[in-house]
C-alpha cells in the first residue's frame, strides 16, 4: 500500500511530468521525422546540401562543373546539389510527391521494409560532394556546421542514415526549446502545475513538432529565442546579473551565427539594458540619466555595428530604407498594400499551426477561426489586465513579463516584415513572404499571452486551470489529428 502511495507521489512530481512531456515530444518528433519522406521539409534538400558542403574535405581536389542556377526547376536533378542528393532524391521518388499532394512514393510490396531502390542507395555509389558550381546551399550557419559534424561522423553510412540522424538532431533542439519554455513559465511566476500545462500546450503545437523535424537552421533558432527569453525574464525577476546577461549574450551570439532573424534579439537586449539602467538611476540622479543616454547611443552607434559586422552582418545593408523619403514611403505603401491582406494573414496563420492546407474539411477550414476567436477574447482580457483598475489575479504573471513578451512578439514581427519589405524592394514581389513558421521562435510567449488574457477574464484560479486544460486537450487532439489523419494518410494511404 505504501509502495503504491509512493509511486503515486512520484508520478505527481513536476519533474516526472516534465520528463514525460519532453520524452513525449522527442518520440513524437522522431515519429514525424519518419513520416515525412526524405527532403520533404522546408527547403530541406538545400539545407542538407549545405551540411554536405561543410562536411566536404577542405582541400577540394575534384573538378567543378559550371551550371547556372535556374529559377524554375522541374525535378531534383535540376538543382546544384551533390550527386548523392540528386540521385537519392530521384531514387526515393521525391519528384513524384514533391508538389503533388495526391501522389506518394511508388511503394514496393515485394521488398517489404525496403524501398525498391534502397539497395542502390545503400551501395554508396554516388559522390557526396558538390561538383556543380555554384553549389545550391543555404549558407554556413552554426546549425549547418553542427549538423556537418554528424554528417562527418557517419561518413561510412548511407545517405538515409546520415540525413535522418541530422533530422533527429533537429528534434533534440526542439526538445530543448520545450524545456526552456517550462523554465520561462516558472521564472515569470506560474505555479508548477500551470507551467507544466502551458509547456505541454507548447509541446503539442503541431507546427513546432513538424518544423523541428526538418533539417533547417530554424530548428536551432527556436531554442535560441527561448534561451534569450529565459535570460531576459530572469533579468526582469532578479535584475541584471552575470548569469542572465551571459544567457542573453550567448543566445544573441549563437542566434546571429545561425540566422539573421536573431538581430531582433540584439535590439530587444539593448532595450532591456536601457530599461534596467533607467530603473537603476531613475530615483537617484537625473544627471546620471543624462550621462547614460550618450553611453547607450555610443553602444548603438559604435559597438553594435562592429559586433554585428564581426558576426557577418551589415546592419545598414539589411535595412530597407533606401532613396529619398518619398521613395521610401511609396515603396512602404506598395509593400503594405500587397502584404497586409486578409489572404496573407490567413496564410500566415494556417502555416503557423500546421499542415492545414492539406485537407479540405471543416476542421482545416475553421481551425484558425476558432483560434482567432479565442485570441480575440484573450485580447479583451489583456486589455483589462493592463488598463482596468481590477487587481491582477495572483496566478497570472506580473505586468513587466507580459509587456516584455509583447515586445518580443512586436520585435519579431517588425524584424521579419522589415526584411520582407527589403526583399520586396529588391525583387518587386513578395518573394520571401511571412509564412507562419517564421513566428515560431516566440511560440512560448504567444501561448503565455493568450492564457494570461483568458486568465484575466476568468478571474478565478480553478476557471483558469480549466481553460488551460481545455487548451491542452484541444492542442493534444489537434496535434494527433494532424499526425494520424492528415500527414500519415497523405504519404502512405
Amino acid at each position: 500500500m505504501r509502495n503504491i502511495q509512493s509511486a503515486k507521489d512520484f508520478c505527481e512530481k513536476p519533474g516526472f511530468i516534465l520528463a514525460l512531456i519532453l520524452a513525449g515530444f522527442f518520440f513524437k518528433g522522431v515519429f514525424i521525422t519518419t513520416l515525412f519522406p526524405i527532403f520533404t521539409g522546408q527547403d530541406e534538400a538545400r539545407h542538407y546540401n549545405s551540411v554536405q558542403f561543410l562536411a566536404e574535405p577542405k582541400e577540394k581536389n575534384w573538378p567543378m562543373t559550371p551550371r547556372p542556377i535556374v529559377p524554375d526547376k522541374a525535378t531534383i536533378a535540376d538543382y546544384n546539389f551533390s550527386e548523392e542528393i540528386r540521385e537519392a532524391g530521384a531514387a526515393a521518388d521525391f519528384d513524384l510527391f514533391r508538389h503533388a499532394l495526391y501522389d506518394t512514393s511508388a511503394f514496393s510490396d515485394s521488398t517489404g521494409y525496403s524501398g525498391k531502390n534502397e539497395t542502390t542507395i545503400d551501395s554508396l555509389s554516388w559522390k557526396k560532394y558538390n561538383e556543380l558550381s555554384p553549389p545550391d546551399t543555404a549558407g554556413k550557419s552554426l546549425y549547418h556546421q553542427l549538423a556537418s559534424l554528424i554528417e562527418k561522423s557517419l561518413d561510412g553510412s548511407n545517405i538515409l542514415v546520415r540525413f535522418f540522424s541530422v533530422r533527429i538532431f533537429s528534434v533534440l533542439l526542439g526538445t530543448l526549446a520545450v524545456l526552456l519554455a517550462y523554465l520561462i513559465m516558472r521564472t515569470i511566476g506560474f505555479l508548477p502545475r500551470e507551467s507544466l500545462i502551458l509547456t505541454a500546450i507548447v509541446a503539442f503545437q503541431p507546427k513546432l513538432s513538424m518544423y523541428t523535424t526538418n533539417i533547417n537552421y530554424d530548428a536551432l533558432l527556436i531554442p535560441i529565442f527561448s534561451l534569450f527569453t529565459w535570460g531576459a525574464v530572469s533579468s526582469l525577476k532578479k535584475g541584471l546579473d552575470w548569469k542572465n546577461v551571459s544567457l542573453m549574450i550567448i543566445s544573441i551570439t549563437l542566434g546571429m551565427l545561425t540566422k539573421g532573424t536573431a538581430i531582433v534579439l540584439l535590439a530587444v537586449f539593448l532595450g532591456l539594458v536601457g530599461f534596467h539602467l533607467y530603473q537603476k538611476i531613475k530615483h537617484r540622479n537625473k544627471f546620471l540619466l543624462v550621462l547614460a543616454l550618450p553611453l547607450l547611443l555610443l553602444v548603438f552607434g559604435f559597438l553594435v555595428p562592429r559586433v554585428t559586422a564581426y558576426l557577418g552582418y551589415n546592419l545598414v545593408a539589411l535595412l530597407p530604407f533606401k532613396g529619398s523619403l518619398t521613395d521610401i514611403f511609396s515603396s512602404l505603401q506598395s509593400y503594405l498594400g500587397k502584404s497586409l491582406t486578409m489572404g496573407r494573414f490567413a496564410l500566415s496563420s494556417r502555416t503557423y499551426w500546421g499542415s492545414l492546407g492539406w485537407e479540405d474539411n471543416w476542421l482545416s477550414q475553421n481551425f484558425t477561426d476558432i483560434i482567432k476567436l479565442i485570441e480575440a477574447f484573450s485580447l479583451v482580457g489583456l486589455g483589462l489586465y493592463f488598463f482596468s483598475k481590477k487587481q491582477r489575479p495572483e496566478y497570472l504573471p506580473e505586468k513587466k513579463y507580459v509587456l516584455f513578451l509583447i515586445a518580443m512578439i512586436v520585435a519579431l514581427q517588425l524584424g521579419i516584415r522589415l526584411y520582407d519589405w527589403k526583399i520586396f524592394i529588391e525583387t518587386g514581389s513578395l518573394a520571401l513572404g511571412t509564412p507562419g513558421r517564421y513566428f515560431l521562435p516566440n511560440l512560448a510567449g504567444h501561448i503565455i499571452l493568450v492564457f494570461t488574457g483568458l486568465g484575466m477574464l476568468l478571474r478565478r484560479e480553478n476557471y483558469f486551470r480549466n481553460s488551460l486544460l481545455t487548451g491542452l486537450i484541444m492542442m493534444f487532439s489537434f496535434s494527433l489529428y494532424l499526425i494520424f489523419n492528415v500527414v500519415l494518410p497523405r504519404y502512405y494511404f
Binding site: 505527481e12 516526472f16 513525449g24 495526391y102 506518394t104 521494409y113 502545475r193 505541454a200 487532439s477 489523419n485
Partner: protein, 220 residues
Amino acid sequence: MRKFSAKNIFLLAAAILLLVILWKLLGDWSFPDTHWPIEKGEKVKLKTEQMIVQKFVASRDGLMRIKVLFGNSDIGKGGTLEMKIYDETCSTLLRDSKLKVTGLDSGNTEDFKFARIPDSKGKTFCMDLRYDGAKSANLFLENNSLPENKFLSVNGQELSGQSIAMRPAYQNASRWQNIRELDQRISQYKPWFLKGPYLLAIVFFFLLFTISAVILLIIV
C-alpha cells in the same frame, strides 16, 4: 466533488477526441495501388445525367476505396458525386459510395469508400461515376497501359488505353496485417533505426508518454 467531476469531464473529452481520431484513421487505413498513374492529364467534364464507366481488375483482395483526382471544378453550391461498383458485366451492383462536395480542386484526391470486398483479387469490376449538381465536375484522364485497366468510357465514348486518374485501395483481412503493411510502407527509404520494430517502438513510446502526460496533468 465538483473538482472530481471536472477532471472526469476532461478525461472523457480527451478520450472521445482520441477515439474520433482513431476512428477516422481506421476509416482511411487502406493501401492504394501505386502502380496506377495519378497525374493531371487531359481534363474531361462530368455533368449531371452523364457518366464515366471504368472497368478494372483488382490486384488484391480487400478492395475498399477508390481515390480519384478531380480537376478544378466550378460547381457552384456543390453537389453529389456517386460511385457505383458493379460486377464485370455492369449489371449486379456490389457497392455504392456517395460524396457530398462543396468544392473540387486539383490539389488533392477524393476518396470513395465502401464496405471491403474480401475476395476481389483478379476480379474485374465495373465502376460508374456520376455527378449530380450545378455545372460540372472535372476529371483527369491518363494514358494507362496497366493490364488491370480494362475499359473506359466517358459519356458514352470509349477511350482505349486510358483511365481516369484514380487508384484502387485495399485493406488486409486482419488489423495486424494492416499494421504490418503500414509499418513496411513507412519504413521504405528510411534508415535501419527508423524501420520495422524500431518504428513500432517509437510510436508506442510517443503515445505512451504523451497520453500519460495528458492524463497526469488532468488528474494531478
